[in-house]
Symmetry: C2
Subunit: 225 residues, 2 copies
DNA sequence: GTACCATACTAACATAAGTTATTGAATGCG
DNA sequence: CGCATTCAATAACTTATGTTAGTATGGTAC
């Protein structure tokens, strides 16, 4: 499946550019092959909120073409390459391969669960809990994608990105990271994140991985499918 | 379709009770026939966040049974009656009626869009913007469901509910509502909400209805389908 | 009607987080 | 290599929102 996907149109984007913009008619489903991207929304006065991150292997909004226009934008963090999956390709795959269709639903439901957890994160957690939680989530997801070492991962987000994702100011993000550092919960330097004690970071962020549904009953695809 | 749904098992719940709980195995899809409910998440220390509201006609988490366990709870606000749609009923419907399947996708995508907007709401909007935005959203959705008059609707949420949905304290919710009242943006008394000037409330909340996708290209069901 | 409970409201005070501004350290570019 | 730009760090100060605690109001059960 993934091979066939890769055989579709592949495009690459520079860092800090838009893959799709709010207001556009959504045409394809995007599969992230490489790099980090994010979904964000913007208010008229410029306030910006990152509402989710895309890591390699993630699919943006299945069946999005059912909607008339995009209600958010998708932008890159690092250089990114994506495969565009057309509506036709997509329909064909999902009717022809029921297990693939199930896997698509799984992806959709997990994305929704992540979005709910973000709502919780912004609504209830304090700044440092919120930051710890976000770092845990990204680390777990990277690990699942095979992109993390034992206790570290590459980490291309700037403090400004973290501010837009957590709803905090840049200054407060800095303060919060200092605090996590002072407690030996993170080592973050030069696009590299080390988590010396994941357990403690998880409890600092009141992080419970259940919402990521890592068991993935419906996620039985292998690369040849 | 809706008739057949109603022919499934129907249950009623008292106000302020749980329909489903975090940790349970999700068995059915729930269709709200009557009343208001909400989805919420809770931290170990008791902090609670309402992550979405369900109004009559809403469906909770299509295909949720693909996941192994619930990552959130569903509770009632008012008395509620629901139809439980079994996995089998659901599969049968969606394979037999492609337009229904499309409508299901539409529902799923709009719910995701609403969840993203909530993330934006909590992350970027001030208390009064946030409150104004939430009131606009509920009013638009009620109107779509045929449950609003010209500029008013029944409104069973307490200030405590609003606090849990907006991530504000109860006291600040009260202050915020006073402010909206003082600006003649709302009249809220005894379970009834009046919006004397929807346009102004919308701009106070930086509300743009695009994320609700009211055009609903994929939402062509009528009651007989 | 009285008692009770949930909800709404108010006030005084505490604090987490935002703002503005400056500096220093990396990083990339011509 | 030097310059420019982005990013990170810090400081001083402001403000939005939270906390605690109490009073008022309104519905409803007996």
């Amino acid at each position: 499946m993934l091979n066939r996907a890769a055989a579709q149109r592949v495009r690459t984007f520079a860092p800090r550019t838009d893959i799709a913009r709010e207001g556009e008619k959504p045409k394809d489903v995007h599969l992230i092959l490489n790099g980090w991207a994010c979904r964000y929304k913007q208010l008229e006065d410029g306030r910006r909120q990152i509402v989710s991150f895309f890591l390699p292997g993630d699919i943006c909004d299945l069946n999005i073409f059912i909607l008339r226009e995009m209600d958010h934008s998708i932008g890159t963090i690092t250089p990114v390459s994506i495969a565009d999956l057309s509506r036709e390709f997509f329909d064909e795959i999902s009717t022809g391969y029921p297990r693939v269709a199930t896997a698509f639903w799984w992806e959709t439901l997990v994305n929704a669960a992540i979005q709910r957890e973000w709502t919780m994160n912004l609504g209830q957690r304090t700044a440092s809990e919120r930051m710890a939680h976000l770092l845990c989530e990204l680390f777990f997801r990277l690990r699942l994608a095979g992109l993390a070492e034992d206790n570290s991962c590459s980490f291309p987000l700037t403090q400004a990105d973290l501010a837009e994702a957590t709803g905090l100011s840049k200054v407060h993000v800095n303060r919060t990271l200092q605090e996590l550092r002072a407690n030996n919960l993170i080592v973050l330097k030069g696009k590299m994140l080390v988590l010396p004690d994941l357990e403690r970071l998880m409890s600092a962020g009141l992080f419970n991985a259940n919402y990521l549904h890592l068991d993935r009953e419906g996620r039985q695809l292998d690369a040849n499918e």
